[in-house]
């Protein structure tokens, strides 16, 4: 059985990585307004510049963001022992969005500069985790209560975002609207490097934790009786999710349903074992968002639709189907 699991894990990893690599290699060069592959081969303008400065960084951003959102979804589903949990369920996504919107609306000068929005989004996500941790410390909260708290936090954050949106000037109001639609745009390679440096250690931590996540999903008493420090792992997991969501949300804006749709789809293929599900969600989530981004810029080319719209249009019906088939 041990060998069987290892064997399956190798295959799951192979196909997940393959999906991520294939989409990342192919998608930058397809869709949109089309490319002159001859010019691209000869490294001539403008196609070479478009590929190197726009399409490839955009694809890499989609890959990292999809991996972060999807794996964060899988992580929260284990920690909250609820198949419908995502970072949105605890209000983390909404709080990160609020943090980013505060930065866009009020910070002086180039309000949309990445580090400021990033720190502000991380601050928002961190504040929610600290708030929920404080509640959990003061009173023993069940996973269900935490989910209900998350719904309340979501509502509060969305209301404040709307308030800020109406108070911000016309330029910043437009920036906020554009950012809230959720989109994957071309970014500088230095931003991608910073993103990778933040995200990859969290990815590695989650992959190493996957056997423990299996036991966490049995509930606190059983996990504690098998030697797992349930509270410590839970709060570390929430913090890890906040870093993943806060960091990516700062760049792309809120992108819905990736954390719900991808782990669920993959759970039906690879099963509930997090040793298979976590790597599959990580690489599969990346591949999924790269594909969605390609659809977003190709479906109505030369117009583009925000990738958040594409994921919501795919994820919304899936969510309804999930509720019916539960």
């Amino acid at each position: 059985m041990a060998d069987d699991l290892r064997h399956r894990a190798r295959w799951v990893l192979f196909f997940s990585v393959l999906a991520a690599v294939v989409t990342t290699v192919i998608c930058p060069f397809v869709g949109g307004s089309g490319m002159d592959y001859g010019k691209l081969w000869r490294q001539e303008a403008p196609d070479w510049g478009i590929a190197v400065n726009l399409r490839i960084p955009r694809t890499l951003l989609a890959l990292l963001t999809g991996a972060a959102l999807s794996s964060a979804g899988a992580l929260y589903q284990s920690l909250l022992r609820d198949a419908l949990a995502t970072p949105s369920s605890l209000g983390v996504s909404a709080a990160a969005s609020l943090g980013a919107v505060i930065a866009i609306a009020f910070l002086p000068g180039e309000g949309s500069s990445f580090p400021l929005i990033w720190l502000s989004a991380l601050g928002g996500a961190g504040a929610v985790i600290a708030f929920v941790a404080a509640l959990g410390h003061l009173r023993r909260f069940s996973a269900f209560t935490l989910l209900l708290t998350g719904i309340a936090v979501n509502g509060i954050c969305v209301s404040i975002i709307l308030l800020l949106h109406s108070l911000a000037g016309i330029t910043r109001s437009f920036q906020i609207t554009h950012w809230l639609m959720g989109g994957v745009d071309a970014v500088e390679y230095s931003v991608l490097l910073l993103l990778a440096l933040v995200l990859i250690p969290v990815f590695v931590w989650m992959l190493r934790l996957s056997r423990t996540l299996n036991v966490i999903s049995y509930g606190e008493v059983w996990a504690a009786g098998r030697g797992v420090d349930f509270k410590k792992i839970t709060w570390q997991g929430f913090a890890a999710g906040a870093i993943l969501v806060g960091t990516t949300t700062a760049i792309t804006g809120p992108i819905a349903f990736v954390g719900l749709l991808v782990p669920h789809l993959l759970r039906r293929i690879v099963g509930p074992d997090y040793r298979l599900l976590m790597p599959a969600s990580l690489f599969g989530g990346g591949a999924f968002l790269v594909l969605c981004d390609t659809i977003s810029r190709s479906a109505f080319a030369p117009l583009e639709i925000p990738v958040g719209v594409t994921t919501a249009l795919l994820g919304g019906p899936f969510f309804v189907w999930l509720l019916w088939s539960r």
């Binding site: 041990a2 190493r208 056997r211 036991v215 504690a224 009786g225 098998r226 030697g227 040793r275």
Partner: protein, 256 residues
Amino acid sequence: MSWLSLDNVGFSYPGQPEVLRGIGAIVNSPEVIAIAGPNGAGKSTLLDLLAGQKWPESGTCRIQGRDAHRIPREELCRLVAHVPQTLPGDVPFTVEEVVLTGRIPYGRGLYENDEDHAAMEMAIARTRLEEFRGRRFSKLSGGEKQRVLMAAAVCQQSPILLLDEPSAHLDPENEAQLWDLLRSLRDAGKLILVVTHPLALAAQNADRIWLLQEGRLVADGPPCDAMRPADLERVFRVPFHWHQNGEGRVFLTYGR
């Protein structure tokens, strides 16, 4: 050095009266100890304290001479296997995978090793779960689930087992097999503390009885001493009777 000791242990939930008061006991050898008492007497709480799931408000719980709450969690779970009263919820794993959770205290590598699998095979054989091993835990009946959790505790290979009503959902055949298993584990050198309500079976199978009433340990000894009808009647508020059949076996019955 004692296997387990309780020194003046007390516990209460926030804002509520004490659940346990001044509990004291020492266990020096492998035994099957049945913990009996009315609902709310503090039986499960006592197991939770010994399992390190709760902190005593006063006094000390010692496992092999060490304060249970100062032993690192993983190490404690190599000494004590706890099967709680509440079953895990909708667990999506197979019986084999649930049983293998008993090996978590022995290493956090991504995969179980050969030793882990040998322990799982032994536990499945001892609890007679061969026919269920590939089935999904959430699809099992209450009694089958309890047997799987019992197997996970056996797979944990700890010298001390803390079992909270392990026979609550079992039919008479499986209940008898459970007590056979507990006795055989004791013979293999394990200490077993089992919270139980069927007093007649406890009287027949346990080496020692801890009788709890309103958070106090009111009797501690072999069944014939700790389960005197007058004491049981005072604790449970129904009359109890000992009977002897033609073969010399004794039975405990209750009721008006």
